[in-house]
Symmetry: C2
Subunit: 249 residues, 2 copies
């Protein structure tokens, strides 16, 4: 290993991270068992250690256990789901309506990750030219939370079919705060090997080389491009996954 | 460990993930050494395995090595930095201008993560009620990339002071694609123990209990709340970090 690589983690430690990345799933089936406070605390601390523009840490966490509020969430979700279905036609609409998209009532815990863009007033380092940077930061926190949950054996499902104004009303969230992510969290019977929408043949994983551009949008990966070839090779994982690479990779 | 925890990773594997989360930094100092293709390939594959709404995978990656384009990026960055400084006054403005905020020319690699919201047309599962979900998905990919880079020993710095229209012009990015994150990537002399803006006393880590709400925005953590106490305790990390918890945690 070259001298400048001395900050790299050991293969075993890297594996811990990559396992979380490859085995994380957007879950809709949950067991009723409660999530212990120490486990939830680690997951929330992981979220709180995401990067944020100007170190603004614009996130808050609304822990939702109250069943009445969750019934109301489920009700507004159902309205939105029916509306969402109208954009699809024929067999694709049927397939959409057959998909289970949430575990609002089954999961022992729902969690809203919010974003307060002007937490420290309008003067924020990195802020004048990009208005949405606090929203970006909050999404980074959600991914930390999602990966930590997976490593702790917890499933997370992001219910994205929902109107912010409904969530703000149900949970008394002030107008200056965005209820960015509505998550269902809990232990699960199983984590599927592949993303649910991939197994359900809703969509396919895009070939990595199609996503590459070099110095300009107009220059894609040419035949024989080494980076594209490496992305499609199992060999780059051999040191980290000596036995088996997760199937969903 | 209870029966429903059987999907949890071992403490050692969890440690790999949490080390990446706690030791990730927003870097501005880079070594000139090239990033090997296999390492970059793993980092990009990690990004490509983020969650995305309706499995749309709306991201692309523009690999930037061309020094002329990077000089142009640096030029527009400097303009924006001067404009950004105007929102601060007196000593805070001086402190802002003294901060190094990018490594555009020093880093061996710049990378733009883009977002194409209508990649598969307007009909997207989960899309009717939330317009920004593809942007959220792309941010999740950025966090995966950032964590994987850290585990591989690579520093990443997000240059958020930049106008999208400048980036689109310099890299010929079409109007329907958002140049969401401009990143500098490379090996680094050192990863600081704490976030740079925290050490520079620009801002402080918020106390975790202040971020908690229970069932309603109006119900914060009370004295004696077990979850808040767990978040502030070193004990919850003992199994995962038997010797030392990363200082930045």
């Amino acid at each position: 290993m070259a001298k400048n690589h001395h900050h790299a983690f050991s293969p075993e430690m890297r594996r811990g991270l990559y396992e979380a990345i490859f085995r994380r799933r957007d879950m809709r089936e949950f067991l009723p068992d409660a999530v212990p406070d120490d486990v939830l605390a680690r997951v929330l601390i992981a979220a709180h250690h995401a990067a944020s523009v100007g170190f603004t840490q614009p996130w808050d966490f609304v822990i939702v256990r109250d069943i009445e509020r969750r019934r109301e969430v489920k009700r507004v979700f159902e309205e939105e789901r029916q509306r969402n279905a109208l954009q699809f036609e024929g067999a694709r609409r049927e397939r959409f309506l057959a998909l289970k998209l949430e575990g609002i009532l089954e999961a022992p815990l729902n969690l809203i990750v919010t974003c307060e863009p002007e937490r420290f007033g309008p003067g924020v380092l990195g802020k004048v030219s990009l208005r949405e940077v606090e929203v970006y930061s909050t999404c980074l926190a959600v991914e930390n939370l999602w990966l930590a949950a997976r490593a702790e054996g917890l499933g997370v499902g992001w219910v994205s079919i929902m109107r912010n104004e409904d969530l703000s009303r149900i949970f008394s969230i002030p107008a200056n705060v965005i209820p960015l992510a509505y998550l269902c969290i809990g232990y699960v019977p199983d984590f599927p090997e592949r993303p649910i929408l991939e197994s359900a043949q809703w969509a396919k994983r895009l070939p990595p080389r199609n996503l590459l551009h070099f110095d300009s949008w107009n220059h894609g990966a040419l035949d024989g491009d080494k980076l594209a070839a490496a992305m499609e090779s199992a060999l780059i994982w051999r040191e980290i996954f000596p036995d088996d690479i997760p199937d969903g990779r």
